[in-house]
Symmetry: C2
Subunit: 495 residues, 2 copies
């Protein structure tokens, strides 16, 4: 290999929009993914791991465009002799790969096919604060059945999952809506055939979370002055025409029966609207039978996220407890998962409609929520550090750590330059070590070791009087043979 030309030193920086995760950030996520997978598996879902790379053709949404081939995705062209190589891209979600895999293997897979998948996805977007170009998704989907039992099951599973990872009942709510009911409302309004008007209404409804009832009313009619002072044109409906949409969005009542009655009024005699309400009724009844009452899963027509994308039931999991945002204002934590039914998943590949329904959990948001609630310790205990007092007796220290590890205690020997003992304690501090073990020449001769309780030591250093310091020593001299017992005793006392 020819040597490359001398170049300036490369910059050591994380690529724009990406992140590095250290220590507990990684292990906590791994643990959460493991817990979620456990629930999914328990419900009969099987794991699937497709490759991170797909052809742009199979991903579908993004056509190979010579000028901007990587609009929205990270894409590149395979090298071949004639510059006609396939365009490849990193997956932007886990649903598009599922569609490809199901279309490819549908004769070998069970029908219905319940599968879960977890892993990073990539979006080629302008990076912004808190917005990353690589993040984890954790999906479960049931492909090949139109039964509402599949949708009810997904909602129940989502509820179980949240409780399993540490969100207690009462702190979350899975809310269910149905795109068909909205279609029924539009039909009742006489907009059933008018694709452009329908899209305008859908786009407006999407802003319900942000602008509320009054805002949607303005946007559906004459327009709205937004908070920045800009005027947003309205869709141009009359107040009367806009009413059924508002009625739909605000139809949630004190109980499911009343909510459904309100919806029935909103859709009039629209066939698709009535179908949608029937679906919601079935989901509600199945969940009730499984013990999932409205304190966990409820019908709520104000759920609008994804209503434009999905074709039937739509679900969203919200955390209902309050947190303080960056400006110190109280607000609800909000959504951590969403999903719904989409019946055209595989059609692009095979021409056949295949009904499917599923959920995607935003793992990073869920982790943030648990940290916010203090349910995950952000600073875990580091290893026990065996310090090095005598460079030539490294074998002795290795023997000690081997003993500690064999006793199932996380431990390591200090591997830096042992000359300056202060550096060893600084290192232990950086590692958040609970205990340091010390065996100098004197100790060796006497057959003892010194064991330093670093956590107690730090506490005493912070606040203790001299008297307390004398009464509660944080360093102990024990016979070498008692090393394990003493270390374990201190570790237990620290919990």
């Amino acid at each position: 290999m020819a040597k490359p030309k001398k170049q300036p030193r490369p910059k050591a920086i994380t690529p724009k929009g990406f992140r590095d995760y250290f220590g507990e950030e990684v292990t906590q996520r791994t643990e959460m993914l493991r817990n979620i997978a456990g629930v999914y598996h328990h419900y009969g879902f099987d794991a699937l791991e497709s490759s991170a790379v797909e052809t742009v053709e199979a991903l579908g949404k993004f056509l190979p465009d010579v000028d901007r081939p990587n609009e929205g995705v990270f894409a590149w062209q395979e090298v071949d002799e004639n510059d006609k190589g396939d365009w490849m891209a990193l997956r932007y979600d886990l649903t598009a790969p599922l569609a490809r895999v199901y279309a490819q293997h549908r004769n070998d897979l069970p029908t219905p096919y319940r599968r879960y998948a977890m892993g990073p996805v990539w979006r080629n977007e302008k990076p912004g604060p808190g917005r990353y170009r690589q993040f984890y998704q954790c999906d479960a989907d049931t492909v090949g059945t139109a039964s509402m039992a599949a949708d009810a099951e997904i909602c129940a599973m989502l509820s179980d999952t949240l409780e399993t990872v540490g969100i207690p009942r009462g702190d979350y709510l899975v809310r269910v809506n149905n795109r068909k009911v909205l279609n029924g409302v539009l039909e009742a309004m006489g907009l059933g055939e008018d694709a452009s008007a329908r899209n305008n209404v859908l786009r407006t409804i999407d802003k319900f979370d942000k602008v509320g009832e009054k805002g949607v009313r303005e946007l559906l009619t004459t327009g709205r002055l937004d908070t920045s002072g800009a005027f947003i044109d309205g869709v141009g409906l009359s107040e009367d025409q806009a009413e059924p949409v508002i009625a739909f969005l605000t139809s949630k009542a004190v109980d499911t029966a009343q909510t459904l009655t309100n919806l029935r009024e909103a859709v009039g005699d629209s066939k698709i609207g009535t179908d949608g309400i029937l679906e919601l009724e079935q989901i509600g009844a199945l969940l009730e039978a499984g013990g999932y009452s409205s304190d966990r899963v409820e019908i709520d027509p104000s759920v609008v996220r994804g209503l434009g994308y999905y074709t039937g039931p739509v679900y969203e999991a919200e955390l209902t407890f309050e947190i303080f945002d960056e400006k110190g204002r109280k607000r609800q934590f909000g959504s951590v998962a969403g999903g719904g039914r989409y019946d055209d998943l595989v059609k692009r590949f095979t021409g056949q409609e295949v009904p499917a329904t599923g959920i995607s959990i935003g793992v990073d948001r869920l982790l943030a929520a648990l940290r916010e609630k203090g349910r995950i310790h952000t600073q875990a205990k580091g290893p026990v550090i065996v310090t090095v007092m005598d460079r030539d007796r490294m074998a002795d220290y290795q023997t000690m750590v081997a003993e500690l590890r064999n006793a199932d205690i996380r431990a390591e020997v200090y591997l830096g330059n042992p000359k300056n003992f202060g550096n060893q304690l600084k290192y232990a501090d950086k590692r958040n070590s609970p205990i340091a073990v010390i065996e100098g020449g004197d100790e060796k001769a006497k057959g003892v070791v010194q064991i330093k309780d670093l956590i107690l030591g730090a506490k005493i250093a912070e606040s203790a009087t001299v008297q307390e310091w004398k009464e509660r020593p944080s360093q102990f001299e024990v016979p070498r043979g008692d090393l394990i017992a003493k270390v374990r005793e201190i570790l237990d006392s620290q919990d």
Copy 2:
């Protein structure tokens, strides 16, 4: 969004050189990664997960080349106004990102920094049989110490890891060599300053695994006729000149002391060679003190893989049991992990030498080995299937699966079209279900359920006589209230 033009249907195929992993393939790997991470963590290593994407500049090996930007890696250029966007690429290993991360965060990280990392890496190579363009690596490295204790620790940890994932002692061997010893041999031969000759010798040695002692001797001297009939030119050394290299490669003796004596002879009074032997001696002594004798880790100068890449000790973990290859011939399973010391890791970024040493485990090969040995079941048990006899009583069936799941039994209700009962049993078969639960109208009226032992049923169908079939029924009618107890009893009997 404007609608894309009508296109032919996309092909549903896994991209060339990539793979999809289903069910147990995924969960077994996840479990193995978890076990490995457990050992690494126990040794005081901290997790690091860097992004899958790095700048090509930071990856280093691959320079942005306009004609073939993605030689060896999957690379693309960031979009910006002036077509001057950075070249980005998928990481091809976990070491290059470690170098970038360490250079970037060195002031905040502890020194030494022990880190582990696991995840997919990508290589833009021509796909071949069994060769994939995305595969998992699982690395542990210690950065910032030149101490041989770090190398000994890595070898001990590798040994522990293999035993933890299920390779028993005696079925593996961690072999250790040292690049410095080879450098000493070359120095003793008078090739210390001749870079070109040294490279030729290194390249030749790399073939030792394949061509053996005789082959290397031929390649170092006059050349060799290989098995395909092609003549490979020799390096041009005389037989005498080649001798020290051969002596080095074959210096392994019955015990470590004798091996080291042989090596001392081979390096003569070369300083670097003597240093290398001293390092091997230290590693051996530390391992011995930790209880890692030569039945687990041994000094073996015939380990040549990576000898060109690393700067000090080199390690390789081999599985020593025999398997049958695709042609039915017995052979050893071979290498599942490799690593070594590389002291110029961070220098590209900072100009400073930072000593580092580490190991990379080939997770997929290790999984293959465990399957080969029958230590992983390739076909795990599926969920209990609650069949649907009466579509209108779906809530009853959901209640049953909820009960089963609450009793910690993996279970699901059949969600396909329930009309044809045979399809439900076929589905159960495809899922490898152990048990089917049946509750038709008659059973409901009588307050009972039918429980079918599908595994016993399949056994009986295969081989039983009529008499046996009568004596060992595989279907049981039990009161509805005994559902859980009976299912558990059957599951236990199947283990």
